[in-house]
Amino acid sequence: MSLEGKLALVTGGGRGIGRAIALKLASQGADIVINFFRRRDTAEQTAKEVQALGVKAEIIRANVGDPAKIDEMFGVIGDKFGHLDILISNAASGVGRPIMEVDVKAWEWTMDINTRACLLCSQRAARLMEGRGGKIVSLSSLGSFLVWPTYAVVGVSKAALEALTRYLAIELAPLGICVNTVAASFVETEALKFYFDEQLGKDKLPITPAGRMVTTEDVANVVAFLCSEEAFMIRGQTIIVDGGFSIYNPLSVLERKD
């Protein structure tokens, strides 16, 4: 699975899952553009780690919730490289509130960053992929269909993202662009600490049927596969990476009377 000579943009690529994806794609030979928002230091650190793998790394600051900033970012990529092969729409934010406390501001902030940004970045990326094809992979979560307390806005933004993926997959197929989503369950990152009390001991986190938590690398591996030619016929899908968490029936703990 070589990505040599390819150029990938990873939004929110400075830390967490985005960082793992940047490093994975770089390890396969792709040059990486890391987009970040508030953590320049972390993005610079990740860029150094990417370069240590022998490929090029650029960092671009842009709030993907702001269409003008997305335009500027793609302007820079266009001027500097003139093309793009892979877009990873990974950046996400959100407001953790019970549904009765969700206001217009919280809704728009979340939707703009988690959903609209994927549309706008995909449109801009598709132009830079013209004549060469490409791969677009976005990051969703189980919260798009499993209800979790205070996750409403983010869950809805992810459900919309998965629907958007299907539309993009069909409408961009004639351009040779493959579009898919990877949906993960709990992954150990800062986001998890943000939503769930930091004191929540590791032993209390829901262990998957696979026997351990999902790691950022587990997610990055599947994203990298979707960026490979082997995945050419997978289109518009949401691939779940959760160690079987979402299909496990909690009633399984009941003992059966024989």
Partner: protein
């Protein structure tokens, strides 16, 4: 308008409070700014003054005055260059 007045106006617009209650010693909590309000204020201030306020710095702000002082310093440094 001074830098302080401009930032006060931005904060008041975002948190829907009366600007006159925002003093240098006011905490973000006093101004009723939740974490989303603070990020939005940071973004608005960055754009107004053409500066960058890293999260690491913003996390150190104890009150409105710290925020203003940081911006004043950044703007002064920018003007020197």
């Amino acid at each position: 308008m001074t830098i302080e007045e401009q930032i006060r106006e931005i904060m008041a617009r975002i948190t829907h409070v009366d600007g006159s209650i925002i003093r240098r010693e006011s905490t973000f909590k006093d101004i009723k700014a939740d974490s989303l309000d603070v990020v939005q204020a940071l973004v608005a201030v960055e754009e107004t003054f053409g500066i960058e306020i890293p999260d690491e710095e913003a996390q150190k702000f104890q009150n409105f005055g710290d925020f203003v002082s940081y911006v004043e310093n950044q703007v002064a440094q920018k003007e020197k260059v």
